[in-house]
């Protein structure tokens, strides 16, 4: 019966790709059908509720009970379920198509900026502007919670700019220094 509904009111069905820990799952959802959903083409019945905390979710999917905790973040969603972590991205079919077209047009990697992965204190800078660095070479030392962490270069390249000074606190995500990636094929 529902299949009939889905095929007749074609414009209401939305197709989505849910990417979890790098794997894709296809889910189709029809706004007018409040308890049915298609997972990888298979029709399933669902009942979803949340607790006082909106991120506390109970899902019955074909009567299989699953409790999980879900929160929005910069990349999409993060869920915690049965002691495991799940990084989730939700994308509708149209956006996905658009993105794949854009990607084909040239995926330029300009990621030469090194950012702080946690808040802390810059203890020492091990390089100077103009230095050639190799992948894995230490760039600077950041201390957080009394532990020293050496930030290593993710690539071969040259130190273009240093954005921080020693003995200064840095925030998470703060730009530490900028590397100019070595053109592929050169040296090495």
């Amino acid at each position: 019966m529902l299949r009939g509904v889905l095929s007749r009111q074609h414009d209401e069905i939305m197709k989505y790709t849910i990417t979890i820990n790098g794997r894709d799952y296809d889910v189709e959802y029809d706004e007018s059908s409040p308890s049915k959903i298609l997972l990888s083409g298979k029709e399933m019945t669902f009942d979803i509720r949340q607790g006082i905390h909106p991120q506390n979710v109970s899902l019955l999917l074909d009567n299989q009970s699953l409790m999980f905790w879900i929160e929005k973040n910069e990349e999409g969603y993060h869920a915690h379920c049965q002691g495991r972590d799940f990084n989730i991205a939700v994308e509708d079919a149209r956006t996905r198509q658009l993105r794949s077209l854009l990607k084909a047009g040239g995926d330029k990697n300009v990621a030469g900026s090194i950012r702080a992965s946690m808040p802390g204190m810059v203890v020492r800078i091990l390089v100077q502007p103009g230095d050639q660095v190799r992948k894995g070479q230490g760039l600077l030392i950041v201390e957080a919670m009394k532990m020293e962490n050496e930030i290593k270069s993710p690539m071969n390249g040259m130190v273009k700019q240093i954005r921080i000074t020693p003995q200064k606190a840095v925030e998470k995500g703060e730009m530490l220094l900028i590397l100019e990636p070595e053109a592929s094929g050169e040296r090495e």
């Binding site: 849910i18 799952y25 889910v27 959903i37 972590d85 989730i88 009394k146």
Partner: protein, 508 residues
């Protein structure tokens, strides 16, 4: 003549402060907490009978300020101070000043702390007492040449250790001579920052060692007992993350021998109160004195669960001058206990601290579970303090039951806002080598791979995909998950009727 303790200042924060306050409350002793600016609403501040502000968030300006803590002690008229672990717990100067102020320090004498606080001095003392120590330097190394010569003599890999170190801080394994000087400098800086001293030395890095430690109790009347061992071989960054008792490799004979050695170590340094003697055990079951921790350990509840003895209460009884209530042959060993430390850390990013606010917290309960925590929902993990959130413990009639119970408990543990070591602990519990008891201190490096975490949850992913999509759509459209009548939201009955008619029409 025992002196009754009626009021105690707990010179610590978080989990251990809460643990001590709970023991005090059960004993009918008034508790006094101290707190920094960011800990005004922390659990320990709220749970204590009295609480006093001692300064800004950095520990150096608050929890490490001996003068401020003693000022609170005077003002609140306590009889004794419990230091917990970390902060001032192993600072002999603190113990001395507490006693000079006419108060009882619930811990060992300052001299014992001082002797064992220097790893090099402890090595000298234990060697003299007849214990076997790990080959290496017996004193601090300051010049490069001595370091290189010593490393060459004992053979690579070598371990750089901070003489005043603890908790893995300042510690580094060096496999090649070219890294030695660079790594020693890094250790010196880390040690200077964490312990205010840059003395480092070298030890042979033992292959395949297991970390086994003995809990001891010593009273002021010369009685010393041990309360069996704890195995703490599951470590990351040289820090324990999972502990258990008993150890799978300790037979009653080994227990008796190592237990005697531990008591000997305690006697050699004039120890009193609760302490722990740590050993490294090689694959031939040779054991070497590693160090003595002159305080209550993080993992002490593992011993409490398998002996039924409350170590904090024993500490207080000893501090009051009472004789030990137990003889060695009265110490039971019942069942098996495991502790998982739940840290706010990003496991996949190499166990980097993960700061933030705990937005949701619902720890497991049910049979055989103990959870020692110092934080509540809404609490914040900051860069100022250790990122440990809580200690999850289970007891089982045997190791097998304890592991199954821990898996169940970890799956029930719900916490959001920061990344935690829960998925990691679960991976260890499900690991075959761990279950067989065949592991050593390099377990995490050898057995643990980040991808494992992403693989094990795989069968849950399709269902979570559905849940995530529904959450995404409905929260963005309606701000809640159940926009239809079952949600209890007011909705016109006419609308329901109309909708039903529509559905009927569609389904025919």
């Amino acid at each position: 003549m025992p002196k009754r303790i009626k009021k105690v200042l707990v010179a610590n924060r978080a989990e251990i402060a809460v643990r001590v306050i709970r023991a005090l409350r059960e004993l009918g002793i008034t508790s006094v907490a101290v707190y920094s600016d960011v800990d005004r609403v922390a659990l320990h501040t709220r749970l204590a009978d009295e609480a006093y502000h001692i300064g800004p968030p950095p520990a150096i300006e608050s929890y490490l300020r001996i003068d401020k803590i003693l000022e609170v002690a005077r003002k609140s008229r306590v009889d004794a101070i419990h230091p917990g672990y970390g902060f001032l717990a192993e600072n002999p100067e603190f113990a001395r000043q507490v006693e000079d102020a006419g108060l009882i320090f619930i811990g060992p004498p300052a001299d014992a702390i001082e002797a064992m606080g220097s790893k090099t001095r402890a090595r000298q003392m234990m060697k003299a007492a007849g214990l076997q120590v790990i080959p290496g330097a017996m004193e601090g190394i300051t010049d490069d040449k001595t370091a290189l010569d010593m490393a060459k003599q004992i053979g690579y890999p070598v371990l750089i250790k901070a003489a005043l170190g603890g908790g893995g801080k300042g510690m580094r394994v060096v496999t090649e001579p070219k890294d030695l000087i660079h790594d020693m400098d890094a250790s010196r800086r880390e040690s200077k920052s964490a312990f205010g001293d840059e003395t480092v030395y070298l030890e042979k890095y033992l292959e395949h060692p297991r970390h086994i430690e003995f809990q001891i109790l010593a009273d002021n009347h010369g009685n010393v007992i041990h309360l069996n061992e704890r195995e703490c071989s599951i470590q990351r960054r040289h820090q324990k993350v999972i502990e258990e008792a008993p150890s799978v490799i300790v037979t009653p004979e080994i227990r008796q021998k190592m237990g005697e050695a531990a008591k000997q170590a305690a006697q050699a340094c004039g120890y009193r109160n609760a302490g722990t003697v740590e050993f490294l055990v090689d694959k031939h079951r040779n054991y070497y004195f590693l160090e003595m921790n002159t305080r209550l350990q993080v993992e002490h509840p593992v011993t409490e669960l398998t002996t039924g003895i409350d170590l904090v209460k024993e500490q207080i009884a000893i501090a009051e001058g009472r004789r030990l209530r137990f003889k060695q042959d009265e110490i039971p060993l019942r069942g098996h206990a495991i502790e998982c430390r739940i840290y706010a850390e990003d496991v996949l990013a190499g166990f980097l601290p993960s700061t933030g606010r705990i937005t949701y917290l619902n720890p497991p309960d049910g049979p055989g579970i103990r959870e020692d925590t110092g934080i509540n929902e809404g609490g914040e993990i900051t860069i100022h303090y250790d990122p440990m959130i809580s200690k999850l413990l289970v007891w089982g009639s045997d190791r097998h039951e304890a592991i199954d119970r821990m898996i169940r408990a970890l799956k029930e543990y719900h916490l959001t806002g920061v990344k935690t070591t829960i998925p990691f602990c679960l991976a260890v519990m499900e690991n075959e080598q761990f279950q067989k008891g065949e592991f050593d201190t390099r377990f995490v490096d050898q057995e643990f791979h980040g991808t494992y975490l992403e693989e094990t949850g795989r069968q849950l992913e399709p269902t979570i995909a559905v849940g995530a999509l529904l959450y995404h759509l409905r929260m963005s459209q309606h701000g809640k998950l159940t926009p239809h009548p079952e949600s209890g939201a007011p909705i016109s009955p006419w609308k329901i009727h109309g909708r039903r008619l529509n559905l009927d029409r569609l389904s025919t």
